[in-house]
Symmetry: C2
Subunit: 416 residues, 2 copies
């Protein structure tokens, strides 16, 4: 149908023309009005407390204590259950968050501006590995680290980013793809490139040598630091693609640990929701599939822009980490995603594929026609509150979301 083809060309054009630049780091409440009330943003499509999974509830309890709305986790859980705290998806406020995706009022968020279209997107700072709030962690260690992010790293990072005049992100991604990153489960190269650019500005912004050393060690010691930057970038790139009449291109994929949600350009801000699937992957020593929570997080926004599972060919080393088979078979995932995308990105290319661009722009019609669901590289959280990450794997977006979306788009366009 010609109208859909034209709309999808426009969608692809907007994706490729996006010019995301990290411009600042600021307290979340200063840019997200909903957080001026007693509210918490979470990953995935909308969900009420009763249907939330264990790690999401654990993270919310921790976030309530962190914000000082309750003295301890038990009181916090009661408060959450009582309805006194409002819960909203990050996606409803120009934001994204990994795994549980907690965004609360005092947390620093990175601000990515899409200079081509003028919109902005937000994401919190990556907490590192181990016991962290994004995986449902909520003890004193977790909250102490969040306080340090709020009081030390966030302000220094903001000053450094402003000093640098912003950090242009597209070029970092292009380099990262030549260095084995796919920007979802592997961000080691981009984290290094990012730190190399920002370190001199951190030195100028933070004149306390020990504090600066802590900051440099925190960023340098976290291979996934760049993930949250990539996520804010993904949101900033995809938001201008929303609302193109007739377009069947996916603008967001996200999970709250219970439901998987998909948004499509031609159907506005409707969420197409289905039960989220369980990742297939590898577990850290002492854990197994029985410990795993179903898939979670807004991070699949990076797959929506052609990275993560879609760029697996660039990251043979990640194939082993997520249990997706041999390194040499990583390219098969990227090839398969070509079957369900409307184009490729000539600026984000993969050397081992002789510089073919990453497959870009998921077309819900192609997903349903081929039966190939988008492949997402993901971390795996423990299903109980407070435990944390237990592995990493690959998960497929549920086909039911795409079937619903195709029906809704067809109805809207008046076709059968």
């Amino acid at each position: 149908m010609q109208k859909i083809e034209e709309a999808n060309r426009e969608a692809l054009r907007r994706i490729l023309e996006g010019d995301p630049v990290l411009i600042d780091v600021v307290p979340a409440h200063s840019v997200i009005p909903a957080l001026r009330d007693q509210a918490i943003l979470h990953a995935g499509p909308p969900i009420e407390w009763e249907r939330m999974c264990g790690p999401m509830r654990g993270a919310i309890a921790g976030a309530i204590v962190f914000e000082g709305w309750a003295p301890n986790l038990n009181v916090a859980t009661e408060l959450a259950r009582s309805g006194a705290v409002a819960f909203h998806p990050n996606h409803h406020f120009d934001a994204v968050g990994p795994m549980t995706g907690m965004t609360t009022r005092s947390m620093p968020v990175m601000v990515v501006e899409n200079r081509r279209f003028g919109n902005r997107a937000y994401c919190t700072i990556n907490e590192g590995l181990g016991k962290v709030m994004r995986f449902g962690g909520n003890d004193a260690e977790v909250l102490g680290r969040l306080a340090w992010l709020r009081d030390v790293l966030g302000p220094a990072l903001g000053a450094a980013v402003r000093g640098a005049g912003g950090i242009e992100l597209k070029g970092i991604i292009a380099r990262g793809l030549t260095m084995g990153d796919e920007m979802h489960q592997r961000n080691v190269a981009c984290t290094g490139i990012f730190l190399r650019q920002l370190a001199p500005w951190l030195a100028r912004a933070c004149r306390d040598g020990e504090q600066l050393a802590d900051i440099l060690a925190f960023i340098g010691g976290n291979d996934q630091f760049f993930l949250n930057v990539a996520m804010a970038m993904g949101k900033a790139i995809m938001d201008p693609v929303r609302g193109i009449e007739g377009s069947s291109v996916v603008t967001a994929m996200c999970r709250n640990g219970t439901d998987f949600g998909v948004r499509v350009s031609g159907t506005g801000d409707t969420w197409f929701v289905a039960p989220v699937e369980m990742p297939e992957g590898l577990y850290f020593p002492g854990f197994g599939p029985a410990d795993a929570n179903p898939d979670m997080g807004d991070s699949a926004i990076v797959e929506a822009i052609g990275l993560g599972g879609f760029a697996m060919a660039a990251a043979p080393a990640v194939a082993g980490f997520v249990g997706a088979g041999s390194a040499s078979s990583a390219a098969l995932f990227t090839q398969a995603m070509r079957e369900i995308t409307v184009g490729e990105n000539p600026e984000w290319t993969i050397p081992t594929l002789d510089y073919a661009g990453v497959p870009t722009g998921v077309d819900i019609r192609l997903v349903v026609d081929t039966g190939l669901a988008p492949v997402i590289n993901t971390g795996i959280a423990h299903k109980e509150p407070g435990v944390g990450q237990v592995g990493a794997g690959v998960v497929r977006a549920p086909m039911a979301c795409f079937e619903q979306a195709v029906r809704a788009l067809a109805e809207r366009l008046g076709v059968k």
Copy 2:
């Protein structure tokens, strides 16, 4: 011949057991006794002034001015020609240097200790790209940068490395190989990993914020910063392999811009020398093959330990940079080098080859039998003094060096 096989197994064992650690950065004269006199160390096998190429002469003139032995380049050139300055190969004093390989008394050198065997090796700090002494540059900008390396970066780097308790290098190489580096013409990943480890210690070592910012910007702005670390590492790994009676494994390959020199374990410190070849590669805009100097530098020590051209499969992006064909054909170079090496390195593996180890330990017999000369990734210098880098390419070690070496080893072992 069994004796040779056993000797080569011992050679491979010593290469693989090497444990190189960057332990300090110190003025060259403090660790290289020859530099207490009016002497200069250069790349490649021994050579007298009359036979030196243009960029080598240009670098020497600049180095003489830098050390204050002459007031300007003309007087410096006369001094060099007069015989009043002694010239020695870096390799004769546990050192290596890229391209012209200038090492003079006040230059800071990085100290890499092979903790398994107790030996140490030295290399100067990489000057960055553009007009630099290693490519024959010698003007005020070049000398000013060298003074900053001597007065600011060198001391800070030394303090940081000592603060960190040394930087273990084998693991950095292992990660770099999963991130597209081959550690000769591409060191972008290793430079990032190195800076991530060292940045907190630099912050503790240098309390002047602007100076620290300059240091972080200098390292972070130079994708080849790690090359000189890799070279000192290569020298530290290969030196304990020297002098194994009967071994046909290469312990050093180097070039002075006129001659290519090869040393072999079983023939002690003899240099097997032949005219150096011209790299085949790509030129920067405005330059071409007519501008090029023949191959130069001690950097081929990285090929001797299985990196550089031998690890091309890990670095598809470098294939285009050095004009070695399509990215997907990079693996062919690594496969070919398997034909002339005695083993592979199980700790340094290449994801796209399903984690096969890099081909390690060049056997001069296999080189001569197969007619496959070692492949070296290299920078290309302008043939005139003072110009600098004009391109990058691939060069083969001259077959004549290996033919001479095979004859000498056979003679020594009493075989025909």
